[in-house]
Structures are given as structure tokens and as C-alpha cells.
């Protein structure tokens, strides 16, 4: 089963993204007791076992950082010209989330089922003649592997700024930036963030 180089590259990127999702996590014992009705006796009084409580779920604070790489288009507002572009970004995120079900020790991914947070990033474009890059800040909402982020982007070199929006599914993202009086950018790519997850009970 021989694969062409392009397929191998996609495969390597996909695997790297999957591995990057396998994050480090740390437990904190806050709120650790489970949910159990102590007012009523257990079903079997002679049993010496402690009744297993109901899972209250978990809360998580996630710190994530890593590179993003994408390809896309750039349209200059001045002359209407369109250019293909590659984008590399370094993004840091902090978000808080909750999961109705606590993770298990052998879960491959420890991640909140719903979360809100903040992304800060710096992106650079490969087409040096057209634009250099952006600083941006986004608010983010994610539900499972799906998420959306919206915020503002600044280009300090072009002295321009404007709104930016991002949609992502797992490690895949699509991003549009609209810089008033300068350009619009649309990029699609992958991010490879390392996650440090702090977990405690609800």
C-alpha cells in the first residue's frame, strides 16, 4: 500500500492533529463528593458496600497554545486583486467548560462538552508583498468538536483593523478576516494545539 507524498502529508498532518488533541490533564479535588440521597436508606441494608453516587459532571479550565497552518485567499480592497496565500499563526487560548459526564481515566481526550473562552493570536502570511500578518483576539464558544469564534483583528503594518470570525471542527478551521479599507482574508487549515486541562467536579 504505497501512498503518494501529498496523501502522506495529509495523513501525517491528521495524525499530528489527533495527537495534539490528546492533552495533558490535572485533577483538582474541589467539589469531589458525588450526588446521593443520604436521607433514604440503601436498597440493601446488610450490604457493606458504599452506594456509588451519581456523577455530578465536571468543570474544566483549558489552556491551549500552538501553531495553526492554512491556505486561502486574500482580496485587496484597493485594486480588487485576489491572491492565493498561506497563513501560519501562533494562537493561545484559555477557556472554561463543563461536561455533564466526568471523564474516565482511560479516555483518549479530556475535553469539556461545552466551553467559552478567549483566543489571542498572531498570524503571518506567506505573500510578503501583499500583507504581513495580523494580531487578533476572539471570543470562542465550542460544543464538543464544533466551535465558533469571533473578534477583532489588527494589522499593525497596514494600520488597518476589522472583524474576524473562525469556525472549527476538531483540528480543522476556517477563518475570515475583514480589514476595513485594506483587505479580506479567507483561510482554511489545521491547528496543532497542546492542551493543558485542569479538571474538577461540578
Amino acid at each position: 500500500m504505497r501512498m503518494p507524498r501529498s496523501t502522506s502529508l495529509v495523513l501525517a498532518c491528521a495524525l499530528a492533529a489527533l495527537l495534539s488533541a490528546g492533552c495533558a490533564h490535572r485533577h483538582f479535588d474541589r467539589n469531589a463528593p458525588g450526588i446521593v440521597d443520604v436521607r433514604t436508606p440503601p436498597a440493601s441494608l446488610p450490604s457493606r458496600a458504599v452506594v456509588t453516587p451519581t456523577d455530578p459532571g465536571e468543570q474544566m479550565l483549558v489552556l491551549a497554545a500552538g501553531p495553526m497552518a492554512g491556505l486561502g485567499m486574500l482580496k485587496r480592497r484597493l485594486d480588487g486583486s485576489t491572491h492565493l496565500t498561506g497563513a501560519l499563526a501562533l494562537e493561545g487560548s484559555i477557556f472554561y467548560g463543563r461536561s455533564e459526564r466526568s471523564h474516565n481515566g482511560d479516555d483518549f481526550v479530556v475535553y469539556p462538552s461545552g466551553s467559552v473562552g478567549l483566543n489571542l493570536g498572531l498570524s503571518g502570511l506567506t505573500n510578503r508583498d501583499q500583507a504581513k500578518g495580523l494580531l487578533y483576539a476572539e471570543g470562542q464558544y465550542a460544543a464538543g468538536l464544533l466551535g465558533a469564534a469571533g473578534g477583532w483583528a489588527w494589522d499593525p503594518w497596514a494600520r488597518s483593523n476589522g472583524p474576524q470570525g473562525t469556525l472549527f471542527v476538531g483540528p480543522l478551521y476556517g477563518r475570515v478576516s475583514y480589514l476595513v479599507r485594506d483587505r479580506s482574508e479567507l483561510t482554511f487549515g489545521l491547528f496543532f494545539k497542546f492542551h493543558d486541562v485542569m479538571v474538577w467536579s461540578q
Binding site: M1, R2, M3, P4, R5, T7, S8, L9, V10, L11, A12, A14, L15, L18, H27, D29, R30, N31, A32, P33, G34, I35, V36, D37, V38, R39, T40, P41, P42, L45, P46, S47, R48, A49, V50, V51, T52, P53, D55, P56, S102, H103, N104, G105, D106, D107, F108
Partner: protein, 311 residues
């Protein structure tokens, strides 16, 4: 990996781990063996695909068929060796558990070992004539050998899914633990004609519940009444409510009593208050006895319970 038999093995592994295990459809020993057979069959092929994929990024030419066969054999032997170590050696099993999750140390699982070598047969089938060797050698590959059954993008997807299937575990083995109050002093006492044993039955955010086994140890009637049950922790004095009525125990009769102690246990846990004292006052045969004092601690035994090791 993207050929029918390895695909079947991946599907079997996923079905077995995520549906059949614990469902009660098949006996536990059989589901365990099915996973081992499927895993040993396709895992060397998965490794081979990953090695070839990685190599294609840096090398212009693919592996010659003979090198590929040697590599496949080496990967199969390495997989089988690692499998044997994990099944027989506690330190290897611990390492595997730390990396990928717990797996049972069951020597009968070694019957699945031949599956690692069976997977090698797919290596020969994976060749397309003219792909790897000199024209003379490639001409020896029979024309009837089928080419890959999937387009290349699908092959890549299959490899990713197979990697996930091999990493994923079955129904959770490491389930969440919860802290519980437990009696750390003597759990039984003699109260005149009765013996009393105590243990915590329930423990959660809203307090805990204590069960008492009360037994008449004589041939004569032994009326027992619990007149006080008070749990003291930090500055709190928490009475059991409600207290049970009198227990008119006949000769050697056993009865059970449940005492709920309702309080904000979560706040105490968060404040680090993990030790308390329980005082139980009894009246036996009409006579009040000195209170029985028990010490309780609130503890958690790790964040997860390993159900495999528990067994």
C-alpha cells in the same frame, strides 16, 4: 490496512470494544480474545502503513518489496513480543496501562498470538505489479493480485481511523471515584446483651448515611434503643435525623438501622475538614450506656477506579 480483511479486523475491534464488551451478548472471555485477535492481526499492518507513509514524506522511492516484507515481519514480531510482555510482565503491563489504559494480565490471551503472523499475508497482497521491485522481479507478481480496493484518500482515512480504533478502549475501565466517609476506629462494640456494628452506606455532597447492625447475642429478649447519634466535625454538631424507634430484639435476632446525617458535606470537603467524631448513645434493657465513640475520615482513593484491576 485498507484491504478487506484488515478492515474487517478494525470493524470487529471497534464493534467488540464499544458494543459487545459488557453488553452481556457474548461471554467476557470471548470478547477479550476477539479484541486480542483483531488487534494483533491489523496492528502490524497499521504500523507498516504509518512507516511507509512517513517514509514517503522524505524518500523519493518506496521500499523494495523484500525490505517491505522484512519490515512487516519485524513489526509483527515486535507487536507479538510487546503483547507477550504486557500479558506476562507486571512492569510492562503497568507501562501499557500508563500509556494506553489498563489491560488484563491473562496468560490465556496468548492464544491470539498467531493472528500477528496471519496479518503478514496481507503484505504480499498489498503490492501492485511494477510498484516496488526491478522489472524482472515485479513481473513475477501475478497479474491476478488485486490492486488496493480503496482510493488513496480513503486509504489515508482508514489508517487514521484504524489508529484511533487501536488507541480507543472499550466501555470505560477507569471510572471516576468519589470521596466517602468511612469508620477508621473500631467498627463493632458490645452493648450489654447486644452487639453493634457500624459502617457508612452512603456518602455524597449532602452528608452521609450510617448503617448499624444490631444483634441480640443472648437467648433472652434484648430491647435496644438508640437515644443519641451525633456527628461532630469542625465546629459543627450534626444529629442523625430521624432516630429509629426502639428495637425489641428477640433471642439472637438481628436488625439493621439506617442513620442519615444531613449537612453540607461538599463545603466541608472543600474546606479540608476530613475527620470527624461520631457519638452513639444506646439504652439497652432500660439502662443508658456510655456513648460509643467512632472516628470517621473523609477520603478518596485516587481519582479513578480501575475496574479491571479491581477484579
Amino acid at each position: 490496512v485498507s484491504r478487506p480483511r484488515p478492515l474487517l479486523a478494525v470493524a470487529m475491534l471497534a464493534l467488540n470494544d464499544h458494543v459487545l464488551k459488557g453488553a452481556g451478548v457474548l461471554p467476557g472471555w470471548l470478547t477479550g480474545k476477539l479484541s486480542d485477535v483483531a488487534g494483533l492481526y491489523f496492528f502490524p499492518l497499521l504500523l507498516l502503513s504509518l512507516v511507509e507513509g512517513s517514509r514517503a514524506l522524505f524518500a523519493a522511492r518506496p521500499l523494495p518489496a523484500s525490505s517491505r516484507r522484512r519490515l512487516a515481519l519485524g513489526l509483527a514480531v515486535a507487536t507479538a513480543g510487546a503483547f507477550v510482555a504486557v500479558k506476562l510482565d507486571p512492569s510492562a503491563n503497568d507501562l501499557y496501562a500508563a500509556l494506553l489504559g489498563p489491560t488484563a494480565m491473562d496468560t490465556t490471551d496468548l492464544v491470539a498470538l498467531p493472528a500477528a503472523l496471519l496479518g503478514l499475508r496481507e503484505v504480499g497482497r498489498g503490492h501492485v505489479a511494477g510498484d516496488h521491485e526491478s522489472p524482472e522481479k515485479s513481473a513475477k507478481v501475478p497479474a491476478s493480485v488485486p490492486a488496493a480496493v480503496l482510493p488513496r484518500w480513503a486509504q489515508a482515512l482508514v489508517v487514521v481511523l484504524a489508529a484511533l480504533a487501536s488507541l480507543a478502549t472499550s466501555a470505560p475501565r477507569m471510572t471516576r471515584n468519589f470521596p466517602a466517609w468511612g469508620v477508621t476506629s473500631e467498627t463493632s462494640a458490645t452493648m450489654a446483651c447486644a452487639s453493634v456494628e457500624a459502617w457508612v452506606s452512603k456518602s455524597g455532597k449532602e452528608g452521609f448515611g450510617l448503617t448499624l447492625k444490631v444483634q441480640n447475642t443472648t437467648e433472652r429478649p434484648c430491647p435496644v434503643e438508640l437515644v443519641e447519634a451525633r456527628f461532630a466535625v469542625d465546629a459543627l454538631q450534626i444529629p442523625a435525623s430521624p432516630l429509629p424507634g426502639p428495637l425489641p430484639l428477640g433471642p439472637y435476632q438481628v436488625d439493621y438501622v439506617y442513620l442519615p446525617f444531613v449537612f453540607d458535606n461538599e463545603a466541608l470537603w472543600n474546606a479540608g475538614e476530613r475527620a470527624g467524631a461520631l457519638a452513639l448513645g444506646f439504652r439497652v434493657e432500660g439502662r443508658a450506656l456510655p456513648p460509643w465513640e467512632l472516628r470517621l475520615t473523609h477520603a478518596i482513593d485516587g481519582f479513578h477506579t480501575d475496574r479491571v484491576r479491581q477484579r
